[in-house]
């Protein structure tokens, strides 16, 4: 079972305790943006086979949203960080690079 560390309450929580929230760090395009930008924000996803940055909510715990870096091919979790980060936290980037030397970096 997938286990993630909640960076707010410090609990290692099981997947059943969490609600997945999809890709992290999406740039929001609202009213007034072009159709293409809005479609990209709403629907187009990286969906990589490998390192993925994503949102999770500690639904049956503290209830807060946090972010995680995880490998979608192996389910290895590289680290979690608070949702206040608008780009991946440097510690998490370093953790990913340590485990995946060929990784091209966050794009």
């Amino acid at each position: 079972m997938l286990i993630l560390h909640c960076p707010y309450c410090g609990v290692d929580c099981e997947e059943a305790e969490l609600a997945p929230g999809g890709e992290a760090h999406l740039k929001r395009f609202g009213p007034g943006s072009s159709d293409t930008d809005f479609e990209g924000y709403m629907f187009a996803r990286k969906n990589p086979k490998g390192v993925h940055f994503e949102r999770w909510r500690h639904a049956y715990g503290c209830g807060k949203w946090f972010l995680a870096a995880r490998c979608t091919a192996t389910l290895e979790v590289f680290g979690t960080y608070k949702a206040q980060n608008s780009v991946p936290h440097p510690d998490v980037i370093a953790a990913v690079k340590a485990r995946r030397p060929d990784w091209e970096g966050y794009k």
Partner: protein, 417 residues
Amino acid sequence: MGNRRYSMFAVAREAMRFHAGWERAWKSPEPKKRYDVVVVGAGGHGLATAYYLGKVHGITNVAVIEKGWLGGGNTGRNTTIIRSNYLQDPSAAIYEKARGLYEDLSQDLNYNVMFSPRGLLMLAQSEHEMRGYKRTVYANNLQGVETRWIERNEVKDLVPIINIDGPRYPVLGALYQERGGTARHDAVAWGYARGCSNMGMDIIQQCEVTGVRTENGKVVGVDTSKGSIDCGKLAMVVAGHSSVLAEMAGFRLPIESAALQAWVSEPIKPCMDVVVMANLVHGYMSQSDKGEMVIGGGTDGFNNYTQRGSWHHVEETVRALVETFPMISRLKMLRQWGGIVDMTGDRSPILSKTPVENIFVNCGWGTGGFKSIPGSGWAMAELVAKGEPGPLAADFGLNRFIEGRFIDESVAAGVAH
């Protein structure tokens, strides 16, 4: 090779000579330099696309390339259910086309796909579900899809092992499609492969695409683990890995991949001759010809490519089914597996042109891929051959996400389907 028709006479002839004359059903050639059309993905959808390209549109200079083995992806990992009782018109049209083609697919392919229209029930276990399914019945009647609403006593007649008086989720009735059922999943892939090979198409297994080559916004070929192959047109039919392939071609898709798992039990005596889907409690079950109960469950909520699935879905699905079918509570599970489903936001597929000229994409079938194989191949072949979608594919373009013109089956079904 493989051209010989299968028939009673062929069996009799081979019986006289120790079955020494059977040949491989399809050839395994090395790739040529160039093809008019390269189809990536030798699963049911890819092979059906190639088959109808040849059969309906006369395009036979085609290669189907596959990184693993033929039919080894979701085609070999589903619960083999076939139905077309969808709410929205475009969905009903393409799924009913597929179901209709399944009816005589064995004759068409000269390969027994064991289509078994044994009847399919979607149980209504709440007031809302009952209203929803009645609405679907009315919609189906208008669409020309034969379904009807049946009351709970008729459900019990059709499925004696069911518990219709569950304390929490009593069965109130069901949406019944008499000509829904199952087919032999591997045979569908093998039959199409044989048909393609007989038309002179090349099926190239263990050939992974590593890059897509484009010039001036137009596709010119693919790089593979067996060298570079030029192509006039490229059809991407790779289900769960569509985003990975699209990334190579330089565009993104409105797709997220996740594992959906299924189980089969130990074989038991025949006890249920229909397919039952209990969508509220979330589990579906049919009995295979070998006697195993084939069980499908829930999709993972997070992106992954593990072909495994989360543990807690096992408990949830088993709990739902034991409540619905108390007699299976002592049954042991024989096997468990997962497939990578490609989920779109509206839970409807994508059959579309792409930002790159002459690349066509067929994906997003999500949890409903197997039942749609012939219809999907039919519509995709038309799209690839003509460069424009025909009536079946027209509503399933990528442009629907920009236009907000969704074909919303997620609400209509309420669950994975």
